[in-house]
């Protein structure tokens, strides 16, 4: 019937127009494309130097931990394949369960988070999530949004203080969190780490909220813990998937970390 045909034509044109408009790059992407990865790396380096001057902020320097983090990082990077970022993972001494991504692929994880993880795979899940923020340029977008591109590029001391405050404190939006999780789950699978570790880690985190409320600060800005646990549990791995444990003496590493706290 011709009426039905007309109706389908209208629906199809609306769908086509919808699709075409989704392809238009947003102004956010335009702003981002102006900031080269190299510039972001530079900013990241300056920031790390700046942060280390803060007397309240103590990077952990421990060979055992460093090599463990390196092992985890290499496992993930190997699975990621190509990346424009030069990742570096920095452990810092803080009993709060905390991890965040700084510009240029610098990822900070707290000793509290390492203590909460029951195996290296769980730490890998958190790092994979932060890598998701980096790869999707969420970090630098947050900074551009809150500080402005031109100010960001001046890179003077006062700005750096503000930048580190913004990078370490304010939250990503829900869609960015979901995207970072999505990235992390796929990356874990590719790295032969069962994505379920994401669920087990965040479930433990949720369970401990009651007793360690104040330690949860940053992960509380990662909202909808239940939704992300559910997503991790429902993630379907490929039929050819096989998990390969990360060969690390986790007890020893945690002991190295807790030793520092004393």
């Amino acid at each position: 019937m011709r009426i039905l045909r007309d109706f389908l034509i209208l629906i199809a044109s609306a769908a086509l127009i919808w699709y075409l408009f989704t392809l238009i790059p947003s102004s956010k992407e335009n702003t981002l494309s102006k900031l080269k990865i190299a510039q972001e790396e530079q900013l990241g380096d300056k920031l790390m130097k700046e942060i280390q001057k803060d007397p309240d902020f103590k990077l952990i320097e421990n060979a055992t931990l460093d090599s463990a983090l390196y092992t985890i990082q290499q496992r993930l990077l190997h699975a990621m394949g190509t990346t424009e970022y030069e990742y570096r993972i920095y452990p810092f001494d803080n009993e709060m369960v905390n991890a965040f991504a700084m510009p240029g692929g610098n990822i900070l994880v707290s000793s509290g988070l390492i203590q909460l993880a029951e195996k290296p795979e769980e730490l890998a899940a958190v790092i994979a999530h932060e890598m998701g923020h980096v790869e999707n340029r969420h970090v630098i977008y947050k900074l551009i949004k809150e500080i402005g591109l031109s100010i960001l590029l001046t890179g003077d001391q006062m700005v750096l203080g503000e930048v580190s405050r913004v990078a370490g404190s304010s939250a990503f939006d829900r869609r960015q969190e979901a995207k970072a999780d999505e990235f992390a789950l796929a990356l874990l699978e590719d790295a032969h780490i069962h994505p379920i570790v994401m669920a087990s880690f965040f479930r433990r985190l949720s369970d401990e909220v009651g007793s360690y409320n104040e330690k949860m600060q940053v992960f509380m800005t990662h909202p909808h813990n239940n939704a992300r646990i559910k997503a991790a549990l429902e993630y379907k791995t490929d039929s050819s998937f096989s998990a390969e444990p990360i060969e690390l003496d986790w007890t020893q590493i945690k002991m190295a970390v807790s030793h520092l706290a004393e």
């Binding site: 019937m1 011709r2 009426i3 007309d6 109706f7 034509i9 209208l10 609306a14 127009i17 919808w18 699709y19 075409l20 408009f21 989704t22 238009i24 947003s26 939006d173 829900r174 869609r175 960015q176």
Partner: protein, 164 residues
């Protein structure tokens, strides 16, 4: 499907009175005023269109057709606009980022309004000249509704034998 539907004959331009032409044209033009007034609440223009239809329904098939035509064409545009208002408010209050889907939707809304606007003007001009004009889909539906011969129009009571 019923194949023996018949339609009332269409009036030729010289058979349409000036009054009818103007009322038919009005069906399209008044929608613009209503659409503008209905912008914050896109349902208002639909109500206006329905009122216009009922006022003019009995005038002539020609006016009835154009009123229906304009009303039907407006329904999807109105729904799209209402959807945009609702989606926009949700974005504003829940600090969700503007997604690709939203961009696509805005595109559809803009194109739908533009197309509606352009074709309504064409239809208004045609109606003023005493001409029929058919939009895709809506033209056929409105024609069917305005010009199809309904049973009660033709069937005088007839005695038939029982079906054996």
């Amino acid at each position: 499907m019923n194949n023996d539907v018949s339609y009332h004959s269409l009036p030729q331009p010289n058979e349409v009175s000036l009054r009818e032409r103007e009322d038919a044209m009005g069906a399209y033009l008044m929608m613009f005023a209503a659409l503008a007034a209905g912008l914050p609440l896109p349902i208002i223009n639909l109500i206006a269109a329905i009122v216009y239809l009922y006022v003019n329904k009995s005038k002539s098939r020609f006016v009835y057709y154009h009123s229906l035509h304009s009303l039907y064409a407006q329904i999807p545009v109105t729904l799209f606009n209402a959807g945009l208002v609702i989606w926009g408010i949700r974005l504003f209050f829940t600090d969700l980022a503007i997604t690709d889907n939203f961009k696509g939707y805005v595109g559809v809304v803009i194109v739908a309004n533009l197309v509606y606007f352009i074709f309504s003007i064409i239809a208004a001009v045609k109606a003023r000249k005493g001409l029929m004009y058919y939009f895709v889909l809506f033209g056929k539906i409105a024609y069917q509704q305005a010009y199809m011969v309904k049973n009660e129009d033709t069937q005088a009571p007839v005695n038939r034998p029982p079906k054996m």
